[in-house]
């Protein structure tokens, strides 16, 4: 009884048209239609949401104002007494900042290569967007598919702006990653003979989405985490990186860690550093709610940038078309794309479909925004916002009773907790801030433009161009996590212990900021979002 009587009345339109929609495919947009809806409605094209960064290696580059706010900010450690000449608290070959899927993958491969590895993570090990990825992971491992076909999907989805060598690495490593996870005992959805069950995602030309029910990321994360613990790799939780340390020659050489609970600083010295801190949804670009983890505050981006690492596509943000809109407790939460992969379709207030259900995320989001804002055909909610329906009851009409419980247990449970049975009642959705398409620039070995500094996972950019496809993020964190781990371990082998640890880059950045007049007293990384009642 969560839907109000008014919403129940509106829901009748959806129920009336449902039978006529079963098995009918709404036409896909032409390339021209896609371009048009993006330019008019995608938030990336709204000029006043962006500004040019005033300082640093990419001075003049365009980024969302909320991101520019944390970039144009002073170092947290400024003015703090830190003895960088004393014996460090931690001394390792490979320091991994971030305990999500990219960090764990990097740790496993660096450890396997013989390096002394440590993971420092802001919250608990495994607290990351990886854990929340539901729908799946792509890999071309079927007879009718090849990495080349996957590559074309990645580029088309990414508006042909992907860095070719990164997209190549992504698709070529993909089957290897699935095999690696399978061997590690990850519980993928399979047929009795062992064949992986795969479906479509938005923008895929082959059914290559592998899943573990709708807990795919959680299943991958808990497996990786379990294996890191089995291997005895050092993990330091509730220790956020507050600043990178460089050596006397300007190479990455460790980090200043902040114990979130005791609020004491610790020094980690490392021959190589891997940034695996994830994304930035908790900066709430343009006021959007987000599907992101609590810790997604762009920490690694700003630390890398202050140290001189270049960015790419910092102005490209992904809004997931199906964020929860109602009941209010689910605002912004991800409704997995697997829901659409299984046949649920977006509908307007009249119960009519207005966009093909598996357009790429950027196009689908723009079409939903257009339906609500321009055409005024959204469903008005008691909370004051507007949304569209996602007709989830279509799933069982198409695939049979029990499909939702089997394939979407997390979604079913999540909506049930707040009084909606998605098998019988359609969901209410609106785009939610989901992913940072860009990030710090890397090469195919996950090396940033700063020596001995690597970046893997959502913090890295260029792989997905300016729009990522579903199922390519769980993939990229592992592909580039492993590549970073391997290369960092190899590099560390022949290196001496870094000397002359310093924070001069942060001081120089602060000075440049002061001279530019930007900054306005802000400090970053912010580490935690502020949701306390004001």
């Amino acid at each position: 009884m969560t839907y109000t009587p008014q919403l129940r009345e509106l829901m009748k339109k959806v129920e009336e048209s449902r039978a006529s929609r079963v098995g009918v495919n709404y036409p896909r947009m032409t390339p021209e239609e896609r371009r048009d809806v993006l330019q008019k409605f995608h938030p990336d094209y709204i000029v006043d949401g962006f500004r040019e960064i005033a300082v640093g290696v990419d001075k003049g580059a365009r980024m969302p104002v909320e991101m520019a706010d944390v970039f144009e900010a002073k170092s947290r450690v400024s003015g703090t007494e830190l003895d960088l000449t004393a014996d460090p608290d931690y001394d390792v070959d490979v320091l991994i900042i971030g305990g999500g899927g990219a960090g764990a993958s990097a740790a496993l491969d660096a450890h396997k290569a013989g390096a002394n590895v440590m993971i420092a993570t802001k919250l608990r090990f495994g607290d990351a967007n990886t854990m929340m990825a539901q729908g799946g992971i792509q890999a071309a491992d079927k007879e009718n598919d090849t990495p080349a076909i996957h590559y074309l999907d990645v580029l088309g989805g990414g508006r042909f702006e992907n860095l070719p060598e990164l997209a190549r690495a992504l698709v070529m490593d993909a089957p290897l990653v699935i095999k690696w996870l399978e061997d590690m005992g990850t519980m993928f959805d399979k047929k009795g003979d062992g064949t992986m069950i795969t479906i479509h995602g938005g923008g895929t030309s082959r059914k290559r989405m592998h899943a573990a029910r709708d807990y795919t990321g959680a299943e991958i994360m808990r497996t990786l985490r379990d294996e890191v613990l089995n291997q005895g790799i050092k993990v330091v939780e509730f220790s956020a990186a507050a600043e990178l340390l460089l050596d006397s020659e300007g190479r990455a050489a460790g980090a200043v860690l902040l114990n979130l609970e005791t609020e004491q600083y610790e020094i980690a010295r490392a021959k190589t550093v891997i940034i695996a801190t994830g994304g930035s949804g908790r900066l709430h670009y343009r006021g959007f709610p987000t599907s992101n983890h609590y810790g997604a505050t762009a920490d690694g981006l700003i630390l890398g940038y202050r140290a001189g690492a270049k960015t790419i596509y910092a102005d490209s943000i992904q809004y997931h078309p199906t964020g929860g809109a109602y009941p209010p407790q689910l605002l912004g939460l991800l409704v997995t794309e697997k829901t659409r992969g299984l046949g649920a379709t977006p509908l307007n207030i009249k119960g009519e479909q207005f966009v093909y259900h598996l357009e790429t995320r950027d196009v689908a989001s723009s079409a939903i925004i257009r339906e609500c804002e321009e055409r005024n055909l959204g469903v008005p909610l008691p909370t004051g916002i507007t949304a569209v329906w996602l007709d989830s009851p279509l799933i069982e009409l198409t695939h049979g009773e029990g499909t939702v419980e089997r394939q979407l247990p997390a979604m079913l449970r999540q909506f049930q907790r707040f009084g909606v049975d998605i098998r019988k009642e359609p969901m209410l959705i609106y785009p939610t801030l989901h992913y940072q398409n860009g990030g710090l620039l890397i090469d195919a070995d996950a090396r940033s433009t700063v020596e001995n500094l690597y970046v893997a996972g959502e913090a890295a950019g260029g792989i997905h161009g300016t729009n990522r496809l579903m199922g390519n993020s769980l993939l990229d964190i592992i592909v580039f996590g492993r590549r970073a781990g391997r290369d960092a371990a190899a590099k560390s082998k022949d290196m001496a212990v870094p000397a002359g640890l310093n924070l001069e880059h942060a001081e120089a950045y602060n000075k440049a900021l002061e001279e530019s007049g930007a900054g306005n007293g802000r400090v970053s990384p912010i580490l935690l979002p502020h949701y306390t009642h004001r």
Partner: protein, 227 residues
């Protein structure tokens, strides 16, 4: 908000706060002024960071929930259990098998289950925890893997177990054993990885990597889409 919002009284670790009734426990704690460090993770019911125990005023029964997935109610007394010191047994997956003999060495306490069902009653995911422990006891790792799958490892089961079983770690081990040894490997996947490692698919991809933008767009716009 277009409608008047009702306020309710909740008691965070015994201290009273008045909050809007539409909030989750997590949002309510923030509304009350807490800057969360522990006890907050994905905020979407996937990570198990926010296990919460509560009791309604006037009632004796202890209830549980995930703070991010439970609405506040008037008269709710609550406390979080953000961490529980459950033991994890380290193992080498290549050296163990899905057998009772191996499992006994890793988690002997599993076989001392008292059958009280406290774990099942407390699970915020409504998993029949005691049942999967029973499946593990009798060596049915497939069934244990299947019914334990939705576990978030929040630790509430462990907090109530009189036999000191660490259910979530035992279940994870069971799932890894099932997936590694009982579920069959994907035969074509093995073949595909071999071809990639031997460079057999390099030519096809390199032709695309070096292709110009117009060619790529043409290929993309005319690509065949599997039904």
């Amino acid at each position: 908000m277009s409608e008047e919002i009702k306020m309710v009284d909740i008691y965070i670790m015994g201290k009273k706060y008045t909050v809007p009734e539409t909030l989750t426990i997590m949002d309510a704690m923030e509304y009350a002024g807490y800057q969360l460090k522990r006890g907050c993770g994905c905020r979407a019911g996937f990570c198990g960071a926010c296990a919460t125990v509560y009791r309604m005023a006037g009632d004796y029964e202890l209830k549980v929930g995930l703070a991010c997935q439970t609405k506040v109610e008037d008269g709710m007394y609550l406390a979080q259990i953000p961490f529980f010191p459950g033991r994890k047994a380290a193992f080498n997956l290549e050296e163990i098998k899905p057998s009772t003999a191996h499992f006994t060495q890793l988690y002997p306490e599993v076989y001392r289950c008292l059958g009280c069902s406290s774990c099942t009653k407390v699970c915020p995911q409504d998993i029949d925890v005691m049942q999967y422990i029973a499946y593990i006891q009798r060596g049915d790792f497939e069934k244990a893997a299947d019914i334990s799958f939705d576990c978030l490892m929040c630790g509430l089961c462990v907090s109530r177990c009189p036999a000191n079983i660490v259910h979530y770690n035992a279940a994870l081990t069971a799932r890894r054993l099932y997936s590694r040894y009982i579920a069959k490997p994907d035969a074509f996947l093995a073949e595909r990885t071999r071809k990639i490692e031997e460079g057999e698919l390099d030519a096809e991809i390199d032709a695309l990597v070096t292709a110009d933008q117009d060619k790529l767009q043409e290929l993309y716009n005319n690509r065949e889409i599997e039904k």
